[in-house]
Each structure stands twice: as C-alpha cells, then as structure tokens.
Subunit: 239 residues, 2 copies
C-alpha cells in the first residue's frame, strides 16, 4: 500500500475529492460535449442544410448553458438559505430543549457501539460550548456542510462556460463542411476523440480507473447521438 | 416553534430531505421543462416549419434523457466503486496503522472542543469493533455514505423518464399549431404555467418558500428561452 508509507498530512490529502472548480468544469463539459453533439447528429439525419443544424445547435448551447449555469446558481443560493434556516433551528433547539438534543448526540454514537457512559461524557463535553455543539449537530446529525457564499456565483459561471466550450466542439464541424452528412462524420470523429480524452482526464482527477472512465463517457455520447439520429430520422419521415 | 411541540420521532423526521425518488423526478423534469422549451423557442425565431422545430425538439429530448439517465446510472456505479475502494483502504489502515487511525478519530473530535481525555475514551471504545470503527471513519472522516446498490438503476430510469415527460409538454404545442410563431405562443403559455406549478411543488417537497421557488424556476426557463430565441434569430440572419 504505497499510500500508507507517506507522512500523515499527505496521506490525508489523498482521500480528498478533486476541487470544486474541477468538479464544475467536469459537470458542464460532460453535458456540453454530449447533448449538442447528439442533437446535431440527430438533425443531420433529418434536415438538408448545415444552417439548420448550426442554428439548432447554437440555440441548444445557449439554452443548456443558461439552464445549467443559472440553475446551479439558484440551487446554490437555496442551499445557503436551507443551511441558515436549519442553523437557526438548531440554535433554538439547543436553547429550548437541551436534553432532547443531548439524546440526539448520544444516538449518533450509540450506532457505533459506543457505550452509554462514554456517550454521556461526549454529550456533556459538547454542551459546554453552544457554537461547537450546533456545528456538530449540523454536520453529524443533519449531514449539512457550511456552503461557501461565493461558490454559487463561481460555480454557475464555470459550469455555464464549460458547457459552451464543450458544445462548440461538436458543432464546429458543421461550420467547415457543406452538408449535414459530412458535418456529422467530422463532428462524430472529433467528438469521440474529445469524449475519450475528457473521460480519461475526468477519471484521473476523480481517482477512478482512467481507461474504464474514458470508455464510459464515450459510450454515453455515442448512445445519445445514435438514438437521437434514429428517432429524428423516423420522426422526420412522418412529416 | 411548532416543530418542537411534537414527539421525538416526528420531530426528527421533519429535518429529513425528501425521498430519492422525488429528488430524481425534480432533477429530470427541471431540465426537461427548460431546455427543450428554450430550444424550440430559439428555433421558432429562425425557421419556417413546425416540422423542423419538432424534429429538433425530439432529437434534444432523446439526447438529453439518455445523457442524464445513462450519465446518472454510470455516475451511481462509479460512486459505488469509489465507496468500495475507500472501504477496503480503511479496513487495511485500521489493520496496518491503528494508532494513526485513532489519531484521526481524535482529530474529528478535537475540532469540536472535546478534551483529550474524552477523545482517548472515544477512540479506544471505537477500536473495539473494527466494522463499526471503519463505518465511523467512512462517514465522519471521509464524509461518504454507503450507496444503495439498486439506486443507480432506479435513479437513471426516473431521471430519464422525467426529462422526457417534461420535454414533451413545451413541444406538444408545435403539434397542434400551423406555424412556429403560433407554436411558440402556446408553448410559452403552457410551459410558464407548468414551470410555475413545478417550481411551487418542488419547493414544497424540499422545504423551501414555495412562491419564491416557483418564481426562480420560471425565471430560469424564461431567461433560457429568450436568450436562445435572440441568439438563434441573429445567427440565422448570418446564413
């Protein structure tokens, strides 16, 4: 076990997940590479002009990046409000029904086979400092982490921008070709390479087996594009 | 504080988040109502035939539901593999470097102002049962919850299906109208009502202020659609 021979600080670091920024890039680019690619592929089987594919692709990238970015921003704000209201509630409870809250602390430890004597010591010790007691309840009873106030804004911008960059890659092929058929060929080639590289990199930073991850990500993109192509083609024949 | 007057069991329940199923429906439908609506709106300003809007909309719904559903499934599988590999690692560490792991337990409690004497009691108590010790480390040192084995499959199906249902609502307006202009009017009316109701319901089940939540969700949809419309219209003028 290589990880065990290193010093304590580094040993702990290795357990940590990748940074929030990387996570946001992965979220945005993952969908950005997949959905606009599959939409353009689907339309390629159904329309005669690259202009329509590009217009639809651009509309999708705008819609998707706003839905993901603004959606992520508002979700982040909601998470902060939720944390604040639960925090107020825990402070009220620690004030109004301290014995009940001590029982909840003991319950957390009872499930790990800690005996009642030790449970009492922990509960009494925690109760000495109300701020730390509430901190403990927020994290270990409710499982809530304090959200970073700036995170919602940064997260929204990163996810939205990554979606746009990811989406422009498959779409770019339709700018430089004359028919949707040729556009699709180049777009598929380009996107499969990018999905594979992206899947590899994504798995690396999240600590997964990189080749397996690369195949998974590529599989999602190809499946979505093939299904969109087949369904759009048969739907178009109905009109 | 109404919540404090009830008995213990119910008091605890109120803190809990909504079920996994509801969460998945919300994830799928939230994007399903927004992105296909915005894409169709964007194309309405740029093309002359409802057939193109419908074909693009269907392609988007297929692509989006597969990307979200299959993406969610594979993410769930990855989460399980990650949990298993970290679990094995913790078991190895508890076996190979028990003193180091005891230090990590004490560190968890040190940050809550628990004194060293109590820290030692807890660490020694936990160390008596290796399974519970590892359980504790997984949850409180690493913040990892044991993933439900069936959840990935169920989650994928629920998210994908909710995306399809959500996406067909805005698109349905183009089936029953003759021009993209009329389709857009009906689609916008229908979707704004659905977004508002959906936002209200979503906020109710997640314990947020429902009216505020309804306005937020509706705002995202309208912003995405308006931006897609403007960008697609100006892009289309270039071709």
């Amino acid at each position: 076990m290589a990880g065990l021979t290193v010093v304590n600080g580094i040993h702990r670091e290795e357990h940590l997940r990748s940074s929030d920024f990387i996570t946001d890039v992965v979220i945005g680019m993952s969908d950005g590479l997949t959905v606009p690619f599959a939409l353009a592929a689907g339309l390629s089987g159904a329309v005669q002009s690259n202009g329509v594919v590009i217009t639809a692709g651009i509309a999708e990238i705008v819609a998707g990046s706003i839905a993901m970015g603004l959606g992520g921003y508002l979700a982040g704000k909601t998470e902060q409000e939720h944390y604040q209201s639960e925090l107020k509630r825990e402070y009220d409870e620690v004030e109004d029904i301290p014995e009940e809250e001590k029982m909840e602390v003991k319950r957390v430890f009872a499930q790990y086979g800690i005996n009642e004597h030790t449970q009492n010591i922990i509960a009494d010790d925690l109760a000495k400092d109300k701020n730390k007691w509430v901190d403990f309840m927020m994290k270990y009873e409710l499982g809530l982490e304090k959200p970073d106030a700036d995170r919602a804004k940064k997260s929204a911008a990163t996810i939205g921008l990554s979606y746009i960059i990811g989406g422009l890659i498959p779409l770019s092929a339709y700018f430089f070709t004359n028919t949707p058929y040729h556009g699709l060929l180049i777009s598929a080639l380009l996107t499969v390479i990018c999905l594979f590289l992206f899947g590899y990199f994504k798995s690396k930073v999240t600590g997964q087996p990189p080749l397996k991850g690369a195949f998974k990500v590529t599989l999602i993109g190809i499946t979505a594009a093939a299904a969109a192509y087949l369904v759009a083609k048969s739907f178009n024949n109905l009109f």
